[in-house]
């Protein structure tokens, strides 16, 4: 408990302070409410629209994020492993991967909607495009870590390539892999939101766009708040997994 207080205390104090200043500024009418609503107004909007937000729009977004992240994880991990196993694949694909991240997503998203339609697939595709990269890079960099001395030791013990991969290469790769995974968990929320924003009929991204168009700024912020919480939850879920699988590995 004390550790918790020590770890999160400064953050909580700063957040409370900022919220207080924000609230105060809103009450002094420094900014019009349709530009920046007060935190209490956002919370009120969240509470008033809780059924719509939590029961209708949140599940749609969560669905897209989970599918997008799952596809990115499976695909990205396999791709990174394949790239490490076969040099020509690495040479051919690595530049492609980098290029895919230089394309401005916001211009690409409408094209994706055109290709994949207004259905779930379009949003998942954009979520995958954003979440894929950190996973591939994390897994690839992790598997590229120099552990040749350990590999040689295992070889001298008669280990097969498979055993060396599972007992040395994978454990060495895990810290970098989880870093990529944590980023991806956050990015996939961003990707799904962009997808909904540009072409959707449900989801928190769609909802926030509609609200902002109607100058219902407090409602829009309520949706944004939920999206942020979703990203934080994804991040901490992966961080949980990390502490379970990565014990003391990062020390070396």
């Amino acid at each position: 408990m004390r550790m918790r207080v020590e770890a999160y205390g400064p953050f909580l104090i700063l957040a409370a302070l900022l919220a207080a200043v924000w609230e105060l500024a809103a009450h002094l009418n420094a900014v019009p409410a349709y530009i920046l609503p007060s935190p209490s107004a956002i919370l009120r909007a969240l509470f008033e629209n809780r059924r719509l937000l939590l029961a209708t729009h949140l599940p749609v977004t969560v669905n897209e994020v989970v599918i997008g992240l799952a596809l990115s994880t499976v695909g990205g991990t396999l791709l990174a492993a394949g790239m490490k196993a076969w040099r020509p694949l690495e040479r051919a694909l690595y530049p492609m991967l980098v290029i895919s991240q230089t394309l401005p997503l916001i211009t690409l998203a409408p094209v994706f909607i055109l290709w994949f339609g207004y259905s779930l697939a379009g949003k998942v595709a954009i979520a995958v495009l954003t979440a894929f990269f950190p996973i591939v890079v994390g897994a690839y960099d992790g598997l590229s870590r120099d552990c040749s001395a350990y590999v040689e030791l295992l070889r001298a013990m008669g280990a097969t390539r498979r055993e060396i991969f599972l007992k040395v290469r994978v454990p060495f790769a895990l810290p970098a892999y989880f870093s990529g995974l944590k980023l991806a968990a956050v990015y996939s929320v961003v990707g799904a939101t962009i997808g909904e924003w540009l072409g959707g009929s449900a989801g928190l991204g769609y909802y926030s766009r509609r609200m902002s168009a109607n100058l219902h700024t407090a409602e829009m912020f309520a949706a944004v708040l939920l999206l942020s919480v979703l990203g934080i939850l994804g991040f901490s879920l992966i961080a949980r997994l990390e502490t379970k699988f990565v014990n003391r590995r990062n020390l070396k």
Binding site: A149, A156, M157, G158, A159, T160, K167, K252
Partner: protein, 341 residues
């Protein structure tokens, strides 16, 4: 796991366990009548496994110490006919005129036409200046590299290719290379997890017992980073022993330790050595260490100087205090002279 103190004679033999305890396997050794199954200086014995199966095994007459390999894998090319039982070997390794160059044809070879052999139970040190190719020689023997020319024979089974050697020799590199995310116990159980070692590796029970014997019993659940250098080296040595392979190559295992810890390790190894029943080839830079531990010393001179060999005529048991006896000091001087070109 070694039998000692028994001079093998014809007729029934009951061997004694090395530390004086009764034979844990309760084996009966019967030397056949003269002329029945002799092959040169090697007698063919019959090993009775619960009196039901009998298999012939070979081993030299007149040996004081006997070493053997238990449970050789049946799939092994080395012991094709043996499924379960005991093999007694006299020659563990024979290196015959091997040469190796990092880039054959362009740069002169690191090792050229080296020959030597190891007998069962030997503790042989390999010394020589840096860059003479000691570690390379180890990698060649272990099977991580294949020589450009020459043959490496193992366990009296004839020349063995590198891939096969990898499965039959224990190799301990200079660094301890304990996996940082595994506890000491889990590190020592690693060899047994590999398919290649299923037949030879120590069982978890034996690893646990050995951890106690190595003074690591209380540290079995610690992580490598929590241990001192000496303890880590012991754990790495245990892991090598736990492969269950009868021939171990130790590449400067105590090289990184301070002088006092090194002495502790020597005292410890000397007290433990006879019960492990392994044959050891040991790289070191430390002449005192070489003299103290070994039966023989191989001197590898760089620049194609070749290999020379010297016996260590010091009686066992030895102790680190022997370093100050006049005999030891004289041997050390001689050795140093031989190393200087």
């Amino acid at each position: 796991m070694c039998y000692s103190g028994a001079n093998i004679t014809r007729g029934a033999n009951r061997l004694r366990w090395s530390n004086g305890a009764p034979d844990p396997w309760n084996l009966n050794w019967i030397i056949p009548a003269e002329g029945s199954e002799w092959t040169g200086s090697v007698a063919c014995l019959t090993f009775y496994d619960s009196m039901a199966n009998s298999r012939p095994v070979r081993f030299p007459l007149g040996t004081e110490r006997v070493f053997f390999v238990l449970k050789a894998p049946s799939s092994s090319r080395l012991f094709p006919s043996l499924e379960k039982g005991v093999i007694l070997l006299s020659q563990m390794l024979d290196v015959h005129r091997i040469s190796y160059s990092f880039q054959p044809g362009t740069i002169p070879p690191v090792l050229s036409e080296l020959s030597f052999s190891l007998q069962a139970g030997d503790f042989v040190s390999l010394i020589g200046p840096s860059g003479a190719g000691k570690s390379t020689l180890f990698k060649l023997i272990a099977g991580l590299l294949e020589p450009d020319a020459g043959e490496l024979s193992l366990y009296e089974a004839g020349p063995v290719p590198a891939k096969e050697r990898l499965r039959h020799i224990g190799y301990m590199p200079q660094k301890d290379l304990l996996l940082p995310w595994r506890t000491i116990l889990a590190n020592c159980l690693l060899p047994g997890e590999l398919e290649a070692n299923h037949a030879s590796a120590y069982s978890p029970d034996r690893v646990l017992a050995l951890l106690e014997r190595f003074g690591l019993g209380t540290e079995r659940d610690s992580y490598p980073e929590e241990l001192s250098g000496g303890m880590r080296q012991r754990a790495a040595f245990l892991r090598t022993v736990a492969t269950g392979r009868p021939l171990l190559l130790l590449d400067e295992p105590f090289g990184a330790l301070d002088a006092l810890t090194k002495q502790d390790m020597h005292r410890w190894l000397l007290s433990l050595w006879s019960e492990l029943g392994v044959t050891v080839l040991f790289i070191t830079h430390d002449l005192e260490e070489a003299l103290l531990l070994s039966d023989r010393i191989l001197i590898l001179n760089g620049n194609e100087g070749g290999l020379s060999e010297t016996e260590v005529p010091l009686a066992r048991p030895r102790s680190p205090d022997d370093r100050f006896t006049p005999e030891f000091v004289k041997l050390r001087e001689e050795l140093e002279r031989r190393l200087r070109p």
